[in-house]
Subunit: 575 residues, 2 copies
């Protein structure tokens, strides 16, 4: 393993983080790029080459010194890669790099393999007539794109109507072009895929947030997306990468449309900005994975798990040379435990990727809270208006709900009110739903099945009489269900208690007293509190307050005597 | 921040990992050590110095090129550090390094500040008469130690009786010596302390396991130690470091004695083997912390938390030059997600620290399970017999219990038996205790209070009649309590149900049906399963099995008809 030498075209930040991974395994990387490029700064040996990573002669020289040649950028000369591939391994294959370089060819290839992508039309010429035809075919707006040398939004032009034709052709007219059907996406997702000699593996699905077409934030895993969609995105990404050649990691960017369907946006045949989070969040980073896959060092799907939810924020330069370091220094001072990476790229320039920060936390909510000041600092230094990281929550239907409160009928609401207040007091995100076991059995089953994958940790179910909802809920899930027996109009509620309590062996329901939604909520808080320290702390404070209240009464009784306090607390008449 | 230059004495593995942290913040480190030393391999610039880190002239030259001089090893020339400290910051202070170099002076200093350490006696001469006197003073066995240049057990000699005097003097007689009272410790603990310009911060308390006096394993946090002891160890370590001078991280090694008291063993004024785990397990590693503290870059206590329980295993060389790489390769192939660090120290030598591996997992139990094959591989390559990582558990009293099963009387055991079987089937570690609310109220209270800090996540409490145990348990803790109403000799158990179910608002108990310990255990599993994926999976399998069982009966009824299956299942007589 440590006797192998890797040749790397490009010594930018992706190369630097790749070299960091190689350093840990003591594997030599010979870099072709300018002297003192970011990757070279952290690798001291005599095997580097100085020059452009596009220079065929230099590439050929480099190839003679290593066991495998790889890239940190796809804009390389694939003719020379094809040539050297008879002498040395090139990973991923020059065929993959060549096809991915041409975005239209990339899309055409994916469509041949039945991988969902946006409809794309090549443009032979680049006249207003051509664009007119495209508009007729795929409708307005559409995206005019350069087939080659496009990244971070450069090379894309949105065409809203024929009024944009001239500006679009002025911006991109000199380049080989194609047009892409407009994707009305509700979110952008990405998956890092690892292609090894044995097959494809996938990191979890993440959510990317772009600003001015540049990646700004990455949430791992993606928020507010069902488990099903997360898995579908991984499968689509694996399917897409499987139809290319060679080994290495691939960044797969996707659109999530309104109907929860997915389209591939584009693929990068190398480590990717959307995978930086893996350095801190996963046992094996995307750079480790790239190194392992191109050298046939084993790697397992289970090693690609996320330790804790995480958020990555790019440090993009502003107009002053010191701006990136300013962002880093102020972010460190915020003291929220972010890992800071500065790439050693010299002076900051506007929108240049100068570094990034990754933050992990036990829950995404905590990660968002911790990341907020860093986003504010970044936007402040860059002279932009900052936005809150987490979306505002619809009242009573928290997007990040961990407790689901369900009832068989709206008539159960007054009984649940006290419990809802406790959840609010303890700051526990919850959602409420009416799911009758008898009148909406299918909706009930659908809701319960969806609850666990969406992150619900506890269900509180209220029901009265032949109170089936708590037990049926428990039958459809593996998370704990708390049953609140509701006192019906007739009787004392014993029927409700027994219907909930006497579940058969095998399907447990945690039953509380009749109408006691307070205790149901406090029990839910104890359960959720096992994972979230803040909630456990709030619970202990709640109990301390309750102790203090009783001790105050006790003190008053001691000071004032039975008669005085009786009158105060129970009225003179009742003496 | 990125304009500061750090001078580093020593370029070994600690220096290498320190430079990795500095690289991430793009801070230049000028290293004084031999060419191609491990740290220099990952730092390419013109500011390094070639030579011995003990060479006064070279140190003086280095000091002129940087803003702060620090060390990766304490065996340096403090005379020259004292001299240069008028021109450049030296962190930690030369005074600290000088005092720590002399282990006896270190201990004397700690005792002056009332920091608990083993009783130590300086030896003016080194004759059998001197040792005789020591034996009389502190008893046998005692530890004869070199005051200086001692590490990894070299410089220590255990003296069991006067029969060992000659051998001890032969081994160490030429060095300045002291004798230390023998510490009968049950565990070795360690804490990394960060000394900043503002005070001292501490990483969590870890457990270190030595073999042949060399650190082999580090468990973070320490296992089988109460929360109180974990905190006391952090406090003792902070107190110890606070009485030294300057800034930086310090490794503090301690003995945990049988009575749970703590003694400082020794202190290292630099990053330490026991803190390697922080690279993967904590937001800020010990190397980040060292860099930040010596450069006055802010750092917060909350940034020193552990993301997931973790285990570090040293890769110690064997007799063959390739042995460390062999261990690394085979450990990667095991596919358990360990992060591998190889130090670039060239050929392996027996017992030389060539690298390390760190593994994190959602629970310590899972980390132990994942680490076991790596320990086996390491011991195999090194020709040693491997041992199981986790201690064997006393039946029914798991050391890592997450469920506490308590009962008011041994007569409740038959009712609990079914639940205990479920816990065993689902592989959930549990403990069982008899804690009567009425007959042992103090023991009950003591047990319940201790449960949460020791890691118990759920209590199952069984009681009958005036069934107070579940409710009283809930009153003493913030973790969920599940109550199992036990049917008493007289009556149908309604008394037990109502005593458990009708708790006042504020103190919830999750009640299950009479005698239904099965459902109590399954409910506990659902709760614990929220944190532990393995348990949730086992639960789902359990439910699937139960579904399959009913479906088999249904199929049999369809195939054989009512009469045939009635006879099979209920006997001919009952038809």
């Amino acid at each position: 393993m440590d006797k192998k030498v890797v040749g790397l075209l490009g010594g930018g930040q992706l190369g630097r983080m790749f070299v960091e991974a190689a350093n840990r395994l003591n594997i030599q990387v010979n870099i072709l790029d300018a002297a003192k490029s970011p990757a070279k700064q952290i690798s001291s040996h005599e095997g580097h080459f100085e020059g452009s990573f596009k220079d065929p002669e230099a590439i050929e020289k480099l190839s003679k010194t290593c066991d495998v040649v790889t890239v940190e950028i796809e804009h390389v000369d694939t003719q020379i890669l094809e040539k050297i591939s008879s002498q040395v391994a090139v990973e991923p294959s020059w065929k993959t790099i060549r096809m991915i370089q041409d975005k239209y060819a990339q899309k055409e290839h994916l469509q041949e393999y039945n991988v969902a992508t946006a409809q794309s039309i090549p443009l032979a010429g680049a006249t207003t007539e051509d664009l007119e035809k495209v508009g007729e075919q795929i409708g307005f707006p559409f995206m005019l794109k350069s087939r080659t040398e496009a990244y971070d939004g450069r090379g894309n032009f949105p065409v809203k109507s024929s009024a944009d034709f001239d500006a679009a052709l002025k911006a991109l007219g000199s380049r080989p072009l194609y047009a892409e059907k407009w994707a009305n996406f509700k979110a952008e997702l990405a998956v890092m895929v690892v292609k090894t000699k044995d097959g494809v593996l996938a990191y979890p699905t993440v959510e990317t947030v772009h600003e001015d077409s540049i990646c700004k934030l990455v949430y791992a895993p993606a928020r507010n997306v069902s488990k099903k969609v997360l898995e579908q995105a991984q499968e689509l990404a694996k399917k897409a990468v499987a139809c290319f050649w060679g080994k290495g990691v691939f960044g797969v960017e996707m659109f999530l449309l309104d109907d929860d369907s997915l389209l591939i946006n584009e693929i990068a045949p190398r480590p990717h900005n959307s995978g930086h989070y893996t350095i801190e969040a996963c046992p094996i980073s995307q750079y480790d994975a790239h190194l392992r896959s191109i050298l046939d060092i084993p790697i397992q799907q289970s090693e690609l798990r996320i330790r804790e939810p995480s958020i990555m924020l790019n440090i993009l330069g502003a107009s002053t040379p010191e701006s990136a370091v300013q962002i880093a220094e102020r972010s460190i001072a915020a003291g929220v435990g972010a890992s800071i990476h500065l790439y050693g790229k010299g002076d900051s320039r506007a929108n240049r990727k100068m570094g990034h920060m990754t933050l992990t936390a036990p829950t995404m909510r905590e990660a968002e809270k911790a990341m907020q000041p860093l986003l504010d600092i970044t936007d402040d230094v860059r002279g932009r208006k900052s936005k809150p990281l987490s979306d505002s929550k619809p009242a009573g239907q928290a997007k990040d709900a961990v407790v689901g409160v369900i009832m068989g009928s709206h008539s159960d609401m007054p009984v649940l009110q006290a419990g809802i207040n406790i959840l609010k007091t303890l700051n526990i995100p919850f959602e409420t739903h009416i799911t009758s076991a008898h009148r909406t059995p299918d909706w009930m089953s659908e809701y319960i099945h969806g609850a666990m994958p969406r992150g619900i940790q506890v269900l509180i179910a209220a029901a009265g009489g032949a109170a089936h909802l708590p037990g049926m809920a428990a039958s459809h899930t593996a998370i704990p269900v708390i049953g609140v027996p509701v006192k019906p109009t007739i009787g004392d509620g014993t029927d409700s208690v027994l219907s909930i309590l006497n579940m058969p062996r095998g399907v447990p329901v945690a039953t509380v007293g009749v109408n006691n939604s307070t205790n149901a909520a406090l029990l839910a808080a104890r359960i959720v509190g096992l994972k979230e320290g803040q909630i456990q702390k709030a619970l202990i404070e709640y109990a301390d307050k309750s102790t203090a209240e009783v001790m105050e009464r006790e003190a008053a009784m001691n000071e004032q005597g039975w008669d005085a306090v009786f009158e105060q607390w129970h009225g003179a008449a009742k003496k």
